[in-house]
């Protein structure tokens, strides 16, 4: 494989990312399954990078999951999105940053629709006014939260305490990267690196000392499929997609999976557990599975945050083996403590997946 060929492509797909003053909107899925991630993102932006980032307490879901489950009509989603923009305008901000990739794709699709059909934008403004009395301006800059971490990856590297290197072997960690489908597949020019060879996560891994592993099914969807997971009868599709990716990456022996979408790491984490239960097959080394990380978690790790402040205890596939490899210290006793340090019980032990208790 000739990496120079990829570098040419990466150069061709760059985009403008605002410097500061971000309006942040949260992800329903991220909050549910990896609650530490968004807190970490805000902490890194404010404390490590000294940026101004705000969130409005009245912001809601963008309804993206509802739209892609096809229960929410397009006009409804467009108007809810208009309301979110109105909150941004009311707060005096112009740079919009969603935490969710489905949202990101949704915002781009809506802005693109308004660009091609100004009469639709006009109608949505009327509907928003009618329903809420609000008015909005479109953002000057709209990027995904991972784009911002990408933009400041060098600054993060400078302040980092750890590198993505296996301290026992001295080798860079072998990391597979997975981009959420709605990041670049719909509008390749709006994704760093484009749709075929996205660079937003590659850049992070390489800047922080790791080695990026490519494999045949890299671009394959993780299998969320919205209705294909949410409705139990359809879940076979979802697990099949993830399994296809695990089987494809297996020969390349990745030590971690890095993603930028809220849903994807959830599926990679949970489906590894489910496959271990159903078929007694585990991926990764020694029956422990391949740890799945988000870009916020990885950034927090290299910066030396406490793993339990990052929310790594909410993963089903244990992250401790990776922490050990990097040399990030952690206190196993504190893993399952509650918000005030009180003991709140422990999860049950999985049958086949070697879980760190």
């Amino acid at each position: 494989m000739n990496i120079e060929g990829k570098k040419i492509i990466w150069k061709e797909y760059q985009k403008e990312i605002a410097e500061d003053d971000y309006f942040y909107v949260r992800s329903c899925v991220r909050q549910s399954f990896f609650p530490g991630s968004e807190t970490t993102f805000l902490r890194i932006l404010r404390e490590t990078l000294g940026k101004n980032i705000t969130e409005h307490p009245f912001h809601t879901t963008c309804t993206g999951i509802g739209y892609h489950s096809d229960i929410v009509p397009y006009e409804t989603t467009m108007t809810v999105i208009a309301r979110q923009f109105a909150l941004m305008t009311e707060s005096g901000y112009h740079n919009y940053v969603p935490s969710c990739i489905t949202s990101f794709g949704m915002y781009l699709e809506v802005l693109e629709t308004w660009h091609h059909f100004p009469e639709v934008e006009k109608k949505v403004r009327e509907l928003l006014k009618k329903a809420t009395g609000k008015e909005f301006e479109k953002p000057d800059n709209l990027v995904h939260a991972s784009d911002i971490i990408y933009k400041f990856r060098k600054e993060i590297a400078e302040k980092s305490k750890f590198r993505l290197i296996n301290r026992f072997t001295g080798e860079p960690l072998r990391i597979v990267e997975h981009i959420g489908c709605h990041y670049a597949k719909m509008f390749p020019s709006k994704g760093i690196g484009g749709a075929e060879y996205p660079h937003v996560l590659v850049g992070l891994i390489e800047e922080w000392g790791g080695e990026v592993i490519d494999y045949p099914e890299r671009r394959h969807c993780c299998g969320f499929g919205f209705r294909q997971y949410i409705v139990k009868a359809n879940r076979g599709y979802s697990i099949a997609c993830s399994q296809k990716k695990f089987e494809s990456m297996k020969p390349y022996r990745p030590e971690a999976i890095l993603t930028n979408c809220p849903g994807c790491p959830f599926f990679f984490d949970r489906w590894q557990y489910a496959i271990s239960e159903m078929e007694n097959v585990t991926y990764g080394e020694d029956g422990q599975g391949i740890p799945v990380l988000t870009y916020e978690e990885l950034a927090g790790m290299v910066l030396g945050n406490d793993p339990w402040d990052l929310g790594l205890q909410t993963h089903q596939v244990p992250v401790e083996p990776l922490l050990d490899k990097i040399g990030i210290p952690y206190d196993p006793e504190k893993k399952y403590l509650g918000k005030n340090g009180e003991y709140i019980g422990k999860p049950a032990i999985a049958a086949n997946l070697k879980f760190c208790h």
Partner: protein
């Protein structure tokens, strides 16, 4: 041109999604749903392109249009600029508005989506709400999820959450005023009407099938649409 084709044309996304298909199959080659399900996005595009009223009606009433996972991998590749993933959104919208969704096993599941995602959006302002995702109906979540949901306030509290409280933070309580605004948006944009149709057409279908129908997630009909799979959706089954 037929009535159904005219209705499809009224959706602005239809012309964005269907320019003209040359049956090259690039979309199907890369489609995850085409790998596992008896689905083919190329056939979706050519069927719609045929403008054949009968074929389109059959399509709207079949399982076929419910297999797509809307990943949009097709959009990256089509040499003619078609987007089968967007066309799926268009036909699913029409299928629901006309009640045709209730004629297929996969289509009937839309009720489950409305009563989970749909109701969570209006009741909480979030698409997902952890308390609602029970381990029992989601065993793949694993023991960690069991521990999280049992101790939600303490776990989220670890990350400076304002769980269920006012102010910014993880799963803050979204004020009623904002939820009212959301509801009014649904009312004026056809969202509420869509939800009502899903309920009504499902109720009629439940009656026809002789299954008990009531709100929530415990009725016979609901559990049937949520769980039932006739195992004939795979690549080689018909």
């Amino acid at each position: 041109m037929g009535r159904l084709y005219d209705l499809l044309n009224q959706d602005i996304r239809f012309n964005e999604g269907l320019k003209a298909c040359i049956n090259c199959g690039t979309c199907t080659a890369i489609c995850p749903a085409a790998e596992f399900y008896n689905y083919d996005p190329r056939i979706l595009a050519t069927t719609l392109q045929s403008r054949d009223e009968e074929q389109i009606e059959t399509l709207l009433k079949s399982d076929f249009i419910w297999y797509c996972g809307e990943c949009m991998s097709c959009k990256t590749r089509c040499p003619r600029g078609n987007v089968p993933g967007t066309l799926i959104s268009v036909v699913r919208s029409l299928s629901q508005d006309l009640g045709y969704f209730a004629e297929s096993e996969k289509g009937r599941q839309q009720l489950a989506l409305k009563r989970t995602i749909g109701e969570w959006i209006l009741n909480t302002g979030y698409c997902l709400y952890p308390k609602e995702i029970e381990l029992e109906s989601h065993p793949e979540q694993g023991p960690v999820w069991g521990w999280i949901t049992e101790n939600l306030k303490e776990v989220l509290g670890r990350f400076d959450a304002h769980y269920n409280e006012e102010g910014p933070g993880i799963f803050r309580k979204i004020p009623q005023e904002s939820l009212d605004e959301l509801k009014r948006i649904f009312d004026v944009t056809g969202g509420t009407e869509r939800f009502e149709k899903l309920e009504e057409f499902s109720r009629l279908k439940a009656e026809e099938m002789g299954k008990e129908f009531s709100p929530g997630q415990k009725s016979d009909y609901y559990l049937h649409v949520y769980n039932f799979n006739n195992n004939k959706h795979g690549k080689d089954e018909h």
